[in-house]
């Protein structure tokens, strides 16, 4: 793709060049390839996004650039050039200078990235000291830097230790530290993963603003395609340590030319897609493991377009005019047939049945360091057979506590009632009948925690059938086989232990277990957030299919609004343990909605961004031990109307049939306000 003239120019032009980079990790005495002949260039001032699923090597790229591979990692070939400087040839001192002067890195989990026993200020000033700026001058520079990352009252923050700051603040400090030396190259490795949606939005906004102010080029690494699409000029898609596609972000995401990119984009619930409108597409098979032996195209095993040539011959990176694709059939990549048919049997229209679950006035108060922590406050709702209730909210919203109250794992405060099929449930699990227990089950977020690692899959599912369905012997065997097939596992999975299965398969086992006793309600607590995108789609499809077949109701908890929207008929938005809004899914999403819902929705990075003004929230999520007076949301509410918000807690009032909002602003006024924002030209 490059002629010699261009090659000469790129020296000055590129902030980062990786050429033919190969990296291996030594595991159990064998070198396993993580990056395979990776080449990419990032121009001065450019933001380049690197996307891929877990194990594809994207974090390894970051660590290789700064030469900080784990002890068992080694660069087995290729070259890295940072601002024209060959990083691999640097000696210790030169490498240290390069880190001090030209490259910085921010990674996920800022709580761990900052030194717990040194004050924030000191951690900043030591960077300036490297450049010879000391004492008061360094302090002033540090304050200026904290101002730059929009931290209010920097002098007081400088006096604190990291654990005294919230996650969002910690990440701002980490960004300030990274930018303190005015680097030419800034590497961001999943910088917002693990943060709450509204906090993530703020940090992303900050990064976008800083880009305008600073000259740094950016390597942005993320598993989240939408985040990358909003932040980056160009994007590279990594699969099994190889670049499979690269090009300008907008073009790649709207007109992908590699089957993997095509399939990945189809896996995401997009544009308000719902379960009754069709199934998500999936990617069959599994990601190749680290160090897997790959002969032809790494994606061939999972690609419906692949032929013998794909399996034996590594496709080159085809230059398609400003973009690259590593596929022989890049021209017809988009004709990749679906792995899962989209059409679904239309669910039979159901008569309005009596609610299977009815919750009234449920409260839960924890004692926390002598303070009362109201994790769940006055929650009432009901759920019909075959219906999905989505629970949405950030950390501390009480959604998981609510689920545990329902299941009886945690007893609620006195007073509230939970009725299952018209019969009151005892607050404690021990006091509930066997029939009641089997009628309500759960699929946990993390299958590694939910499945006992000492037991075989057969034992795990068999024991559930024995206890919940009361089956024995032949009948148990028969039902076990049915159940295993219905979650699309096979017999050979039965003999193994959970750790021998991949994340997606483990989650299927957990689902099978939850369905062992023909439950009426299954609580799904973030069932896909530990999974890769390509695996997530298959699990969501499975849940939708099982629901259509068994007429089971779901309580579906997720921080991913796209996923919630896909599965839910009804949505409840929680904030500090209170329901702020509850109503039919489409009404909650399309609005008019509660200002908090509005902020949550606008915080979600979208792939198909139609530039809407983002509603920014001020400040942090308040502590549940000391919730704000009046409306608990008033401290962050962009639509606060006056003292009434601080003094009186608004009631949850029904605005439309079945749609209730807890806000002092009248429904009609909300409609008017939110319409105007939407209509405003970007």
């Amino acid at each position: 793709m490059t002629n010699s003239a261009q090659a000469r120019n790129t020296k000055a032009e590129n902030a980062l060049e990786l050429s033919d980079l190969s990296v291996a990790y030594r595991v159990a005495g064998r070198n396993r390839a993580v990056l395979r002949n990776l080449s990419l260039n990032i121009k001065q001032g450019e933001a380049y996004g690197l996307v891929g699923e877990s194990g594809c090597g994207k974090s390894t790229v970051a660590l290789t650039v700064v030469r900080y591979l784990p002890r068992n990692g080694s660069i087995s070939g290729g070259a890295i050039s940072l601002d024209g400087q060959n990083v691999m040839k640097l000696d210790g001192e030169a490498l240290r200078r390069a880190r001090a002067e030209s490259v910085s890195m921010v990674y996920q989990d800022p709580g761990k990235a900052l030194n717990p026993s040194i004050r924030v200020g000191r951690q900043l000033t030591e960077i300036f000291e490297l450049g010879g700026i000391t004492g008061q001058a360094a302090t002033e520079r540090a304050i200026a830097m904290l101002n730059r990352v929009r931290i209010s009252d920097p002098p007081s923050v400088m006096q604190r230790y990291p654990h005294q700051l919230s996650g969002g603040m910690q990440q701002r400090v980490a960004i300030a530290m990274a930018l303190a030396n005015d680097p030419s190259m800034l590497i961001l490795d999943e910088p917002t993963t693990g943060l709450d949606a509204t906090v993530e939005a703020e940090v992303l906004d900050l990064i976008a603003q800083l880009r305008q102010e600073l000259s740094a080029s950016i390597l942005f690494i993320s598993h989240n395609l939408a985040v990358v699409s909003n932040m980056c000029d160009r994007v590279g898609v990594l699969y099994a340590g190889m670049l499979v596609e690269e090009g300008p972000t907008e073009i790649v995401f709207n007109d992908p030319r590699h089957p993997y990119t095509v399939a990945l984009l189809r896996c995401l619930p997009r544009g308000g897609q719902r379960k009754d409108q069709g199934r998500l597409d999936t990617i069959p098979g599994f990601l190749p493991g680290i160090g897997a032996d790959i002969k032809g195209c790494a994606f061939a095993d999972r690609c419906a377009l692949a032929d013998d040539r794909c399996r034996t011959e590594l496709p080159p990176l085809y230059d398609l005019g400003g973009r690259l694709s590593r596929c022989f059939y890049h021209d017809k990549a988009q004709s990749l047939p679906r792995a899962t048919p989209s059409n679904v049997p239309a669910p039979a229209p159901k008569p309005a049945a009596a609610p299977v679950l009815r919750v009234a006035g449920l409260n839960k108060t924890y004692a926390s360091h002598g303070h009362a922590l109201r994790a769940v406050k006055d929650v009432s709702l009901d759920l019909r057979p075959g219906e999905t209730l989505g629970l949405v909210g950030e950390s501390g919203s009480g959604k998981t506590t609510f689920a545990r109250l329902l299941l009886g794992l945690v007893p609620p405060d006195d007073g509230g009632t939970i009725e299952l099929e018209g019969k009151a449930l005892a607050p404690k699990l021990e006091n509930r009948g066997d029939d009641q227990v089997k009628a309500m089950q759960i699929v946990f977020q993390n299958p590694d925690s939910a499945l006992n690692r000492s037991h075989s899959i057969r034992h795990l599912i068999g024991r559930a059938l024995k206890r919940l369905a009361g089956l024995r012997g032949k009948a148990l065997e028969a039902r076990l086989n049915d159940l295993v097939r219905s979650v699309r596992l096979t017999d050979r999975h039965l003999a193994v232990k959970p750790r021998q299965l991949s994340g997606g398969l483990k989650q299927r086992v957990a689902i099978a277990r939850a369905f062992a006793g023909d439950p009426r309600i299954v609580v799904c607590d973030e069932p896909t957030s530990a999974l890769d995108v390509s695996v997530q789609a298959a699990i969501l499809n499975l849940l939708a299919d099982l629901q259509a077949k068994e007429d089971v109701s779901y309580i579906f908890i997720s921080h991913d609004l796209g996923v919630v929207r896909y599965l839910s008929d009804k949505i409840a938005v929680l904030y500090l343990g209170r329901i702020m809004e509850i109503g039919p899914s489409e009404q909650v999403f399309s609005g008019p909605h509660h200002p908090y819902t509005e902020a949550l929705l606008s915080a979600v990075p979208k792939l198909d961004q139609t530039e809407t003004a983002r509603i920014r929230l001020d400040g942090e999520i308040p502590s549940a031990t000391n919730p704000p007076s009046g409306c608990v949301f008033h401290t962050r509410c962009p639509r606060k109307i006056g003292p009434i918000c601080e003094q009186q807690e608004p009631p949850l009032s029904e605005a439309q049939p079945g749609h209730s909002i807890r806000c002092h602003i009248p429904y009609a006024e909300l409609a008017r306000l939110q319409k105007t924002v939407v209509a405003e030209p970007a």
Binding site: E53, S54, G55, K58, S59, Q108, D109, E190, T193, G194, H223, F286, L287, P288, G289, I290, A292, L407, L409, L429, D434, V437, Q441, I442, F444, N446, D448, S449, A450, L451, N452, R453, S454, H455, R463, A464, R467, L468, R492, H493, V496, K497, R499, Q500, L501, S502, G503, G504, L505, K506, R513, S529, A530, L531, D532, V535
Partner: protein, 292 residues
Amino acid sequence: MSAVQTTSPAQDDTRRRSPLAEVLFSLMRSRTFLVGLAIVLFWVACALFGEHFAPYDPLADDIINALAPPSSEHWFGTDQIGRDVFSRVIVGSRDILTVAPLATLLATVAGTALGLLTGYFRGIVDDVVSRILEAFMAIPVVIVALLAIVALGTSKTTVIIVIGLSFAPIIARTVRSAVLAERELDYVAAAQLRHESALHTMFVEILPNVIPPILVETTVRLGYAIFAVATLSFMGFGIQPPSPDWGLSISSNYGMIGGGFWWTVLFDALAIASLVIGVNLVADGVHGALND
């Protein structure tokens, strides 16, 4: 790679060896483990079959040849009543290798039960029992043993019980903290959602998952049990004469080292050293294999 993506990369759908095979595989690759195992097996063999290849009767005195330095007849010399030191060293592992493992077994069983109960039920049971165990652990084992043996008199059974009960709180603490961590895992909640009994949850669900730390702690404790038995014997509170026990032999001979009769104690000391180090090498190997 990222917080929400905690799954390890999937390769094939049923990848990897079974967990047990992996542990054995890594044990067999560990040089420290193999060396330790060889030493321990050597002394176990001596304990079992020592009298068959010991050149003399370890208990037979021979006053004329008392305190003879090492020679071709008596490789390790003779003690103050002329007993052959080499034969005594060979057979001397027998008592310690009965008492120490039994004490460890007692400690493991009692400690595991206590740890499971306190870790599982938490609350008041845990508070009370843990406080008592903590207080107990603050007293050095040697002193506990000393007091108990003063009160109960000296016998092998007493030594086993004393050391077993002194070590039980330490094992209980290890098990408890492992159980506390396990209890937070969702499979325990899943068991409750099947209305499993507390006993089932403790012994069938949780126990298999805390076996690795118990195993490590047990091997480490075995080392300390040998340490403790030897020390008690040396202090005169452990194994009693005329056993050729190493600690006991040192105790009855060390008064004479000033006189230059080094062979009466050196070989016993080295024997104890090798056995204790061997057991700890094994423990170290097991720890390494289980924590990979």
